[in-house]
Homo-oligomer: 303 residues x 5
């Protein structure tokens, strides 16, 4: 198992907890699988509407996240702090990442530059953790780099990361260049910069969109450069919209083994399935992420 | 009686109070009746002007709310915190929901996107409750989802809900998509998303506008989907403008029994009546909500 | 004497002080006379310029307010908190209402929507009161309802009223609909709404502009409706620009006896006179307000 | 010597210090001389550039202010709090007024309305005073009345004045109407209003631009009216751009003896001279201000 | 060695630490070398992309900064506070300047005026320093003078400087006129003003862009004037984009010996080299800055 970076803003009294939280997320390996479930606010009903052919009835109830999280195999379930508060008492075994900010998808970008407003702070997460033993291991913050509101989100992220570390919690940044100043949000040069900025902001893990390939470079080669630019911050790719499960797993395998990213952040490709299929998918992903399984071995879980 | 969701942000020392407040609002059933009276700011004089044929003399004095609340049968009276402060000493028996934010109806939406400014905070509600035994059981917050100010209102709601739970109080969210980014504010898909967002923000109860029917789906079927999307947050529908009382009660019956919503939020359909008629109407509504009465049994109260 | 409303946000330990402050302002009657003197900021030099035929030399010095206040007969002198701080040591006998917000008249409404910025807070008023026995009995706050900044002013008013009551102080709201969303600021329906909103914000007294008459209704009939809409918040009318003194007193008499308002807020119709005339005018107003004098008896004071 | 106004926001325990600070600034007379040196931020290099014929080499180094302040004769040196912090240890004998806000002259008014941002607060001034015996006797705040940001500056000024008095410090307001709503910033009616507003905000001294004359009234007659409008706040005129020294002194004499202002605020007319000339000029000004000297006697100092 | 200015906002108990920090940065000389490494946020990937011919592979990993800082010879390494937090535990010997604010380069100036948002505060820096012995000796803050947001940045800088001194830390200001109100950002008159403003804001060191020459004046003569205008604040020039190393060193020599600036702030001209070359370059720069070496002696280090 790799040795973690323990940043200097983790006080000596919280180092043990920080390491324990790291080990929970990484399961004693070098990789992590984040079950990413903040869409109830980010996408409203779009990802959960059974009138859409691709969405099963199971997905409509937010408890679906927690059923998958408790019966499947994941590193941690990331969702809004209060959704954790409302379900964690019934699902105490799941490790949680408390998402602290979120916006809806109602306002088009040409009406107002994107901003993900802070909803909760690290103090709230710590209170939740301490008073009811909710198994929160870290916090999550979104930054739309390049938005006219990047100043507010960078400030919130920087402060939240510092505070999270102070309490022994991990900090994961959703780093998405967006806004009218951003032309191509999958430009590898831009994403490398965003990943490096996440490092300078103190993130333990940065979640990025996969870049596109460039002339003479594959996506995986671009990922390698992004991973280096992120320094001692681990890079994971967001899963994006639902796609063929086998193709998804093959891509994840390549990203980790050729692109050198640290793991997977998957949401729709898990929860937009019936409960048994979703549970199977978490096992397939975990096989790649945590067990070093081949694509074939992983795919076996969902067959 | 159903088992309540006690979210994890209610500390152990406040669980008993939280349950007691829930039981007050739900009267040991699965349903609730909120007497919604925040119109003195929201609509200014529009709902109270006896020059309007539909408004009786009784309605003009804000004390009308409290006379109805004390002599009628309701779950709780929801109004601005300070209106509670000014009348509760004379009406100590009413359970109150302290509305924390409110705007007037003076500024048209095309002049400025809607924002419901925070007027008070949970601390104020707790002080009121503790120092003079005002029977406050929860707080209410409005969010105009899709407004350019949704960031401010979501932040205020998230923080208020967390603080309310911390003190054993319930939190009810008035969730109304509004603003130029919102085309159709009774679109069921949009309302299902709004209800789900309220769940992720931690609301115990979400108050929505009834959706319209869709091709191939009745309003009640849409409500069923909305109720599922809201997870363990209870859904109630706002009563809207005054309509025929019998039609109102019949609609409420269908919404609860076919749409599976948790109850009623009624304001104008109660208080825009003379005191005896208003009291009778609260009894009719409560019969449906709390006693499982048929429409006919309910209508008997107002005949 | 009427029994006062003691709102529930006055803690038990401050009830005695609150009642004493009420009695000071109302002089054990049902009515009050507020000497309204916030024009040094609100109107800058416009009301004090002796180059204007209507303004006597006496008016130019702000001490004029205090000479009138100490030698005349008033309920309380309302002015900016710091003007009180600068003159109260020489005029300790006057009861004061500390105005907490104020704007100048320099910026035209079509340049920027009106906002009355908070200058001081209740804590400042309490400190002043406690450390030097300045006889502050309450605070005053202006709200321009309908301005794009109504959110900020309503928040400030709501918080100031809550804090004022917490310390046993009265709260008076200057409630003036204004801004481009407001067509007719003396529309009785609008003013009734504004007065009701002041009640929901917790004001003990609301100061409004007198409404105009409507087809089939006199001003006094409109005032009656406004007074009812304000519930247990007392309504007083602002005096406005200087007019004939006898006409002023006759109007005041009608407003109180036919319109049922609770008293008078007079500024320019008092202080834009020489000291002896101003003192006489306060006695005439007080005769109507406090002694139940007839118009004739009142007018005798200024003859 | 005149009896000072000790406002009620000076607590009893700080009255002695307040009086001492007053006496330092007024040197036991009725008049004061403020050496006004905030141009390093307000005008950047414009007043200090030796490439300009009118500016001697001596002026370029900010220490010039302090050499003049310590070797000349002044009431107090007013400059940014941190410039005091950087030089006071070498110049402990000078009484200081800590300027709390300042803007540069880079942004033209038609690009953005003027705002003087708060840089420090009274707490900072008190800490400086207490921990290193820096001889701070008061604070200074600029307000651009009529700017769209007047709300922010008036709030900051009101709070700073209250806090200053609470700690026994004097408060001086630089009151300059400015912004697109302000047509003529030397209109005597406007300046009288501004001076009166400074009084209502609690300023001990208000610094204004000299007004222009009006038809039938000299500048000095206008000043008399302004002085009355300012009530118990003392009025001083800003010196403005460098002019002929004798003319400057003669004007100052007339302003004090005919216009009844309380003294002088001089910056460029002192520091845009070589050190010996600047020292002589402070003596000439002080002769008029503090000694009641005639113009001739004053001019003798600079010959 | 020169005697430092110890500003009065350094409390007596922190003077020893302040002097020690000064001596660390200046190595007991009159000059300083700041290794300026805030580009991971300021320029994103632009300075680190090995696809660019001028950037070696070594530069891509942020650890490159720290390898250079620990093996080369510098006064202090300046970078974002959290980058320090993430690497300092492995590089405890480097003295650090914690940069507190930073923006990306994504938003063009004609879209939004530049603002460098505060990310951390002095309290964060002090906690980092105290709890894990991270060797932080000071803080860094950027101000874009002339931007429409200069008010916010000046406020943040002023407060951060005051707080830094209070804890015995140095304060360095990156002073860059920028925004549509700024025509020529290397105008010597403008930069002299900016340097003087930094002095009035309390900066111990101000980092400026080198000015251009003027008719009849060399760059070095302009620097002399700027240095004088900055008073007791030391002036250093930013190194800017990578250039020929020998030309860079010669320019630095002239700036110090003819322009009288206090030292060097170099980033890209060091870190855009392979590790051995970068280390050599730090030695060459330090030779000039700290040892008073000639250009030739300095150049010898990189041959």
């Amino acid at each position: 198992m790799k040795s973690f970076t323990i940043p200097a803003d983790v006080p000596p009294s919280k180092k043990e907890l920080f390491i324990k939280n790291m080990q929970t997320l990484y399961k004693q390996t070098d990789h992590l699988f984040l079950f990413a479930c903040d869409q109830k606010i980010e996408h409203l009903h779009d990802d959960f509407d059974p009138d859409d052919d691709d969405v099963p009835e199971d997905a409509i109830d937010p408890e679906h996240f927690f059923k998958i999280g408790s019966k499947g195999r994941i590193g941690a379930l990331a969702t809004q702090l209060e959704l954790i508060a409302r379900y964690a008492p019934q699902y105490p075994s799941i490790p949680y990442i408390a998402k602290l900010n979120s916006k809806t998808n109602l306002i088009p970008q040409n009406q107002k530059e994107p901003i993900s407003p802070s909803l909760w702070n690290v103090k709230n997460a710590v209170e939740l953790m301490e008073q009811n033993n909710t198994h929160i291991i870290g916090v999550g913050i979104t930054i739309y780099l390049g938005s006219e509101f990047e100043d507010k989100m960078m400030h919130f992220a920087a402060q939240s990361i510092f505070e999270a570390h102070k309490h022994g919690l991990l900090a994961i940044v959703w780093m998405y260049p967006r806004g009218k100043a951003v032309g191509d949000d999958t430009d590898p040069h831009l994403i490398a910069g965003a990943a490096g900025a996440a490092n300078a902001l103190g993130a333990d893990v940065v979640k990025i969109k996969p870049p596109h390939a460039s002339p003479g470079k594959t996506i995986e080669q671009e990922l390698q450069e992004i991973v280096k630019a992120a320094g001692n911050t681990d890079v994971i790719c967001s899963g994006g919209a639902k796609m063929d499960s086998i193709a998804y797993l093959e891509r994840l395998y390549r990203f980790i083994h050729e692109g050198h990213i640290a793991g997977s952040a998957t949401g729709r490709n898990v929860f937009q399935k019936s409960l048994p299929e979703a549970i199977a998918m978490t096992k397939a992903i975990s096989a790649i992420v945590y067990d070093g399984a081949s694509e074939k071995e992983a795919v076996a879980h969902i067959k």
